[in-house]
Amino acid sequence: MKQLLQLSAVTKSFGAVQALKGISFDLQAGEVHALLGENGAGKSTLIKIITGAHQPDGGTIEIAGERVEKLSPVAAHKLGIACIYQQPALFPDLTVAENIGLRLEGANSLSRVDWNSRRNQAQKLLRRIGADISPDAEVRSLSMPEQQLVEIACALGAGARIVIMDEPTASLTQKETGLLFAVILDLRSSGAGVIYISHRLEEIFQLADRVTVLRDGESVGTRNVCRSRGDETQTSQSESDKRLLTSSPTLTESELIRMMVGREISQIFPPAQSAPGETVLSLKNLGCTAGGVKNVSLDVRAGEILSLAGLVGAGRTELARTIFGITPADAGEIILRGEKVEIHSPQEAVARGIAYVPEDRRRHGVILEMPVAQNMTMGIHRRIFPGTWLRFGAERACALDFIRQLDVRAYGPEAPGHSLSGGNQQKVSLARWLATKPKVLILDEPTQGVDVGAKSEIHKIIRRLAKDGLAVLMISSDLPEILGMSDRIAVMRGGTIAATLPGKSGAHEVMSAALGQKGAGK
């Protein structure tokens, strides 16, 4: 096997914080090497060093056997390194074809732009990954997963030898994930090396040849994953479940988790509970043309967790945004504790006891430049600051209370949002909405991009909230999470509710409902 990449004793500091403390890492041709670690373990920094976005403070980098002294993004690009970031690094104002073209054509600034070949190339690449996206569409108009697919097309088109994927499935649906896996395996068999980062352990067992676990800027170890893939393209959830159960004794999920967190996490999902109370939120034929939501009828009861499953683009986030008043409903009714209400804006929703923890926490969930305390009290200005006068003591006390309650790891209530890890940002976002003492809590992908430790904590918090009588509506693309957490599951398809299933349903049923009749036969 040819060695594609070799990092030796790489170090990197940001100010006083040492992000990487001498990490060694290698990638062979034709392998998928998974990189695991909690948020803040140093994965992102390591990737940025490989892509040339950061310069290491010490250590060496060898690419294809040759030592590289100074790696810039341009040099990395030329050396065949491509990276698919969690937040797609695309040009929102330009078309898909142009985005791909700009990535692939390199920085020769005086060459002529051949629009036709750009279009054809884009079409070809998109078709290859099975994405149904027009090359002429403006990227601004695409959904997040669609944008991620464009990123993948870019990497593929660049003929990259080293492909880095940073949580590519975070916002993908099962079907898109399947397509992606096929692409990864395709890359692998063509002799490229893939560095794969994910918080979803089952994906790692499904895909990876080797796995390296990082913790606190150090490498805890690299292990072989014994894959027992019969049919490599076979990716349905039930198959992978099966494989999890029968996975080889050399490396188990719990062992990986132990490596990551340095402790065993015995139980991933807190136990469900029974006896939900009265109906708190009831939707009757709710519709919103702009959001593509139509004819949704749904009941959420106090003390239950109702999951919204479905493919991305099925209208789940749009439904949440409609209930929360961001894109107000134009048809049907929202009935809150027996009272018909109209919600035109988020502030009305908040006033009526609806809280929404949004999907994109960096853009919507937390204001990164503002301190934790100010973020937490943002939804309760009226209550905590009577007469609009700020009361800094009360604010601080409130924030400290939530920091303790949710175990937010920040150095204090005055820490700005961007100094926190993803999981802790999510907790801050959650705290903001718990502070409003809501009756209905809508969670949109509450654990997306959150490391295993924090994920489990968030799950416990959600369950505790439901136990305290909150009606929880949880949107998730993480099937195990849905199956593990829900009391009931509503599956959306094409902007409406396709099925409502009991919490004990199997993955198969949920998926077939989400995919419609065609998928059900699988």
């Binding site: 993004p73 690094a89 330009l94 073209g101 700009l102 702009a290």
Partner: protein, 309 residues
């Protein structure tokens, strides 16, 4: 249609204006006055092209008026010293380039916000020029006006030079990689960096280019008359920004075409003579100008508001 709505709305407004003129004041359409109008606006078009580039790159330059004035006076002084005109032209462009490079260095090099940097350079250059020259006009020797060509030829030359720059730049923006890089940087600088484009170099380059175009425009203005008014270029920044915006370039960068800018400039340039032709009294001019800018953006705002949800 949607993508180019702003361009079309500017064109439609221009069409309506021209139609109104054709009906109520056909005297507007006479070749010699129109050529004069075009010649007067040719330097503005050149500056507007540069401004469009700067705004597409998600920056802004409000110091162009002052740069223009300084370049005009320099060009006049050099011509008055009987330098060969080609050398005067080259030097003027060089002076403009230096101003642009200064802005560019502060914006791209130090990462300072362009609106503030150019606000500062705007007052500094303008006041500096006043201090040094005390508002004295520069008298040009014979043979400088129209480069010594007959008037008609000179006017056509200027108009054609401006149009050539417009067409060349529009084609470059669409069909040469570096033009697309301007859009890329304006759309998302970080993504541009990852695609191997150097956003800071591009930003710097755009400012330098803006300066060079301003220098050229100043020269084009200088040779139109036998005297240089050191106050020329006052308000040029607002006029060009308005033309760029009315023509559909997004102030947030990454979007817009030079054809739109051209339409926008034509619209704004025609309003003032049109009001004269339509016998509207002069004191309405400014209000109508403002209302036109507002209408152009409001039309777009109303349209996209519906789409947004």
């Amino acid at each position: 249609m949607n993508k180019y709505f702003r361009e079309f709305s500017a064109a439609a407004a221009l069409g309506i204006l021209l139609l109104a003129l054709a009906i109520f004041a056909p005297s507007f359409f006479q070749p010699q006055p129109l050529l004069s109008l075009a010649t007067r606006e040719a330097p503005t078009l050149v500056v507007a092209c540069g401004m469009a580039l700067v705004i597409i790159c998600r920056q802004i330059d409000i110091s162009v008026g002052s740069q223009f004035a300084v370049c005009s006076v320099c060009a006049g002084l050099l011509a008055a010293m009987h330098w060969p005109l080609a050398l005067v032209l080259a030097t003027t462009i060089l002076i403009g380039t230096t101003f642009g490079a200064f802005n560019g260095a502060l914006v791209a090099g130090l990462g300072l916000p362009s609106i503030v940097v150019t606000l500062a350079t705007m007052v500094t250059w303008r006041e500096g020029l006043r201090w040094l020259r005390q508002g004295v006009w520069v008298d040009l020797p014979n043979g400088v006006q129209w480069f010594g060509l007959p008037q008609m030829t000179g006017q056509w030359t200027l108009v054609l030079v401006a149009l050539a720059i417009l067409i060349l730049l529009a084609l470059t923006l669409k069909h040469i990689s570096i033009g697309r890089f301007v859009y890329a940087v304006g759309s998302d600088a970080e993504a541009a960096r990852l695609a191997g484009i150097r956003p800071r170099m591009m930003t710097f380059g755009v400012f330098v280019f803006m300066g060079a175009l301003t220098g050229l425009a100043a020269m084009m203005n200088t040779i139109q008359s036998p005297q240089v008014d050191p106050n020329s270029g006052t308000g040029l920044e607002l006029k060009t920004i308005a033309a760029v915006v009315v023509g559909g370039v997004a102030i947030s960068g990454g979007r817009g075409t030079l054809w739109g800018v051209f339409t926008g400039l034509l619209l704004l340039a025609c309003i003032s003579p049109a009001l004269t032709h339509l016998h509207v009294e002069a004191f309405w001019g400014k209000a109508i100008q403002g209302a036109t800018i507002l209408l152009a953006v409001v039309a777009d705002g109303v349209r996209t508001r519906k789409q947004r949800y």
